[in-house]
Symmetry: C2
Subunit: 100 residues, 2 copies
């Protein structure tokens, strides 16, 4: 008797909880980087770094997702992280301007 659909789904649910945790951990680090970049007057968007992240993700990929799928998922992750990063950098700048 093999596993049932509900058993596989329960395993997916555990993985999803872990994915949410890691995605937020990643976003927190991106926010920290955004703060450092803002302090150093560096642009938030760094295409070289983004290419490096995607290349590294593809090297780590052993399937069944193909590289195209990994790239699409990571582009979305990077985009959403950058949105948080930009928002936090903005509010930090607003606080600082207010304090001047």
């Amino acid at each position: 008797m093999g596993l049932k659909i509900e058993d596989y789904r329960a395993e997916i649910d555990v993985i999803d909880g872990e994915l949410v945790r890691l995605l937020n951990m990643r976003a927190r680090l991106a926010v920290e980087i955004g703060v450092l970049k803002r302090c150093a007057a560096l642009p938030l968007y760094d295409p070289d770094r983004e290419r490096g992240v995607l290349a590294r993700a593809c090297r780590a990929n052993d399937g069944p997702l193909d590289d195209g799928a990994v790239i699409k998922i990571f582009r979305r992750i990077i985009g959403e992280s950058r949105r948080v990063e930009a928002r936090r950098a903005e509010s930090l700048a607003a606080m600082r301007d207010g304090a001047d």
Copy 2:
């Protein structure tokens, strides 16, 4: 002396490796579910399950990503998993048809 951008990036790289691993583990489970569904002549797309996955991800979300970001990322993950699931189910069916 605080952490530098490169230190944060090294932490993100570790997280990304773990994300790729979990995403593929998730896709493998989705493939197994696809096989079971195919055997039971059930449709691969299950909108109720998809809503449940998104709702669970949002409940697990404690930021800094907002729920909208989590939903967008998970829609992409689900979509790419389903693409692999459909491809595998197709090739399984082709093998079976060939064996008939």
